[in-house]
C-alpha cells in the first residue's frame, strides 16, 4: 500500500503535463511504517535522456540519484520510489521499466493524454524481477 498525499499527487500530475510531450521523472521521498509506504515529499529530477528519446524514455543519472538520496537523508526520509509520465500511453509499466527497476521501490506512472494528466497508478517489481505488481494507492494517511 502506498499513501500519496493529494498535494504530492497534484505535483506529479503537473510535472507530467509540463513535460508533455516528453516524459517527466522524479523521486518519492518518505517513510515506511509497518507495511505501508508514506510519500511525504516529491522531488522533480531532470530527465537525463537525450532530447530525441525523451518522448518515451527517462533517465535519472546516478549523480542526481545520489543528490536525492542525500537530501532525503537530511530530511530524515528515504527515497522510497519514483514517478514518471507516459505521454499518450497507458499508465502501465513497460518492459523497459521492468528491466531498469528494483524491487521494493514504488513506481508511480501518470498517463498524459494530449497534454492532460489522466490515470495515475503505482507499481512494485516482484522480488524475482519477473513482473510488476500493481500497488494500491491511498490518498489519506491513517
Amino acid at each position: 500500500m502506498l499513501y500519496l498525499l493529494p498535494e504530492c499527487e497534484s505535483v506529479i500530475r503537473d510535472e507530467g503535463q509540463k513535460a508533455y510531450p516528453n516524459e517527466c521523472c522524479g523521486v518519492l521521498m518518505g517513510l515506511i511504517e509497518s507495511e505501508t509506504k508514506i510519500v511525504k515529499q516529491t522531488q522533480a529530477i531532470h530527465n537525463a535522456q537525450k532530447d530525441s528519446e525523451q518522448y518515451h524514455r527517462f533517465l535519472i543519472t546516478p549523480e542526481d540519484m545520489l543528490a536525492a538520496e542525500q537530501s532525503a537523508r537530511k530530511l530524515g526520509l528515504d527515497v522510497i520510489g519514483f514517478y514518471h509520465s507516459h505521454p499518450d500511453c497507458p499508465a502501465a509499466p513497460s518492459d523497459y521499466d521492468r528491466d531498469h527497476a528494483l524491487p521494493f521501490y514504488s513506481y508511480i506512472i501518470v498517463s498524459v493524454e494530449k497534454g492532460v494528466a489522466k490515470e495515475l497508478t503505482s507499481w512494485e517489481l516482484a522480488i524475482d524481477r519477473s513482473v510488476f505488481l500493481p500497488e494500491k494507492i491511498s490518498k489519506e494517511v491513517q
Partner: protein
C-alpha cells in the same frame, strides 16, 4: 572497516539495515564482502556474468567509482561507499505479435532496424499530403513497412490521366476520392495499418490541427502554395517535413524542418511568379519519376522513425531520369530565414494563394474568359472568331483544333501582325492557364483587339462541346 550505505530498495536483503560495516581495501572487495554477509542481495547487484548490473553504481567519496578506478578504487579504513541505482524507464511501443514478426522478418533481420526499430515504426504516425505521384509510393511502402498510423490528405478524385504514375489507384477507381482508393489498396497490402483519411484541401485554417496529430509529414504536393503552407506549419509545430517534387524528368528530395536543419524557405525564400513553372498537368512528367522520388521520401521517413541513420537533412538530392544521374547539393540553414531563422518575421500561417501571386491584382486589367459552351454558340451564330493555339508542336500532335492560328508562347509577340484586331481572338491551351500568359504578352506588346481566354482550355471543349475530341 568500510561503511556501505544501502538504498531503501536493497534493505530488504540487509535485514532492513541502512548501513553495513564490511572489510576490504577496494570498492570491489567491500561490495563482495557485503554480498557475502547478505547473500540475497547478490542477484540484484550482480548480473549472471558476475559483473555489477548496469544500473547499479557505487560512489566513493561522493564520486562514481566508474570515474575513478572502477571496482579497484581504493577505500581507506573508515571510508564510506554508497550504492546508488540509476533509474530509468519509459513507455514502450506495444510488443510485436507473431503475425507481425512473420510479416516484418526482413526488417527484423537488419540490426539497424530490428525489433526496437519495428516497434518504433508501429508506434509512428505519418501524414502523407497528396495521394498523387509522390503520395502513391509513399503510402504503399510505408504501409508495407508497418508504420502504425498513416494519414492521407487529398481533396481530389482519381482521373484517368493519373493512372500513368499514381500506382496506388486502379482503373476501376476513376472518379472515386483518392483517399478512399488509396486506403483500400493500403489495407490490401497491410491490414495492420491504421489509415486516417482527410478528404479535404489542406488550408491555413486546418493545417495546424491536422499536422499536430502526426510525428512526421511527407510532402507529396504538386503546387507552391501548399508546399509553403506545409513547410511553415511543420516549422511551427517542430515536425520533420520529408519533401519531394517532380517535373518532367527531374526530381528533388530533402528533409526540411528537422532540428537544426534548414527549411524549404531557406532554399526558396519566395515562389516563382505564377505560370513561370508549369505544373505537371501542363508540363508533363515521366511516370516513373515520382515513383523514384516518392520511394526516396519513404526511405527517409522510415530512417527518421528508426533513428541513427544519415537522413537527407541539410542536403538536397537532385535526380535527372533522362540522364539517369543523381547529384547532391549541400543546404545550409539560412540564419535570416523568415520562418525558421533566429528572428522570424512570419510566426503564423499566412494567405499562401496571395503569397504565391495567385490572387488577382486589382490594378491589373482582368483577363476576360469564355466558356466552351458560350464559344460554341457564338461560333454557330456565324460570328468571325480567330483562334490562337499557343501550345507546343508535341502537344498539338496529341490533338489539333481546326482552323487555329498556331503561335507557341515564345513567338506570340513578334507575330502580332498576323492577328486582326477587328475580330475577337480566343486563346487556346490545354487547361486555360498558359493561354493567359499569351494574352498578357500581347497586351504588353500593345495589341488593341479583343482577346478572350478559353476557360479550362481544350479539355473543356472536349468535355462540353466536342465529345469526339480526346482529353489529355
Amino acid at each position: 572497516m568500510i561503511k556501505v550505505l544501502i538504498p531503501y530498495a536493497l534493505r530488504a536483503f540487509t535485514e532492513r539495515n541502512a548501513e553495513a560495516e564490511v572489510n576490504g581495501s577496494t570498492a570491489g572487495e567491500a561490495i563482495q564482502a557485503l554480498a557475502d554477509t547478505y547473500p540475497a542481495i547478490k542477484a540484484h547487484l550482480f548480473a549472471e556474468d558476475g559483473q555489477l548490473r548496469g544500473f547499479i553504481n557505487v560512489f566513493a567519496g561522493g564520486v562514481n567509482v566508474d570515474k575513478q578506478q572502477g571496482l579497484d578504487t581504493p577505500i581507506a579504513d573508515g571510508g564510506e561507499l554508497m550504492i546508488i541505482p540509476a533509474i530509468a524507464g519509459g513507455s514502450d511501443a506495444p510488443e510485436l505479435t507473431n503475425e507481425e514478426i512473420a510479416r516484418y522478418s526482413r526488417h527484423l533481420l537488419l540490426p539497424e532496424i530490428g525489433v526496437e526499430g519495428q516497434k518504433k515504426l508501429k508506434a509512428a504516425k505519418v501524414l502523407i499530403i497528396g495521394t498523387g505521384g509522390l503520395g502513391a509510393p509513399l503510402a504503399l511502402y510505408l504501409s508495407a513497412a508497418g508504420v502504425g498510423t498513416i494519414g492521407l490528405v487529398d481533396f481530389d478524385v482519381v482521373d484517368a490521366s493519373n493512372l500513368q504514375r499514381q500506382i496506388i489507384h486502379s482503373t476501376r477507381d476513376v472518379d472515386r476520392p483518392k483517399v478512399a482508393s488509396a486506403r483500400d489498396r493500403m489495407r490490401g497490402i497491410n491490414p495492420l495499418v491504421n489509415v486516417v483519411m482527410h478528404n479535404a484541401m489542406l488550408t491555413s485554417e486546418n493545417a495546424l490541427d491536422i499536422i499536430a496529430e502526426y510525428d512526421i509529414v511527407a510532402d507529396g504536393t504538386d503546387n507552391f502554395q501548399t508546399r509553403y503552407l506545409v513547410n511553415d506549419a511543420c516549422v511551427f509545430l517542430g515536425k520533420p517535413n520529408v519533401y519531394g517534387s517532380v517535373f518532367q524528368f527531374e526530381g528533388q528530395a530533402s528533409v526540411f524542418g528537422a532540428k537544426d536543419g534548414p527549411c524549404y524557405r531557406c532554399l526558396y525564400p519566395s515562389p516563382p511568379p505564377p505560370g513561370l513553372v508549369p505544373s505537371c498537368a501542363e508540363g508533363g512528367v515521366m511516370g516513373v519519376l515520382p515513383g523514384i522520388i516518392g520511394t526516396i521520401q519513404a526511405a527517409e521517413v522510415i530512417k527518421m522513425i528508426v533513428g541513427n541513420a544519415k537522413p537527407l537533412v541539410g542536403r538536397l538530392l537532385h535526380f535527372d531520369a533522362w540522364r539517369m544521374s543523381f547529384r547532391e547539393l549541400k543546404l545550409d540553414k539560412e540564419p535570416n530565414c523568415p520562418v525558421c531563422g533566429a528572428n522570424p518575421t512570419i510566426r503564423e500561417l499566412i494567405d499562401y494563394e496571395q503569397f504565391c501571386g495567385l490572387k488577382k491584382n486589382k490594378e491589373e486589367e482582368p483577363i476576360e474568359t469564355i466558356t466552351a459552351v458560350d464559344l460554341k454558340q457564338r461560333l454557330d451564330s456565324g460570328e468571325r472568331i480567330q483562334f490562337i493555339d499557343i501550345r507546343e508542336p508535341h502537344e498539338r500532335a496529341i490533338v489539333k483544333f481546326p482552323n487555329a492560328l498556331v503561335m507557341p508562347l515564345g513567338q506570340i509577340s513578334r507575330r502580332m501582325e498576323e492577328l486582326d484586331p477587328s475580330a475577337v481572338a480566343v486563346f487556346l491551351c490545354k487547361i486555360g492557364q498558359r493561354s493567359i500568359l499569351g494574352i498578357k504578352a500581347l497586351r504588353e506588346a500593345g495589341y488593341k483587339g479583343k482577346m478572350l481566354n478559353l476557360q479550362d482550355g481544350l479539355n473543356a471543349w472536349a468535355r462540353d462541346v466536342d465529345r469526339s475530341m480526346p482529353i489529355y
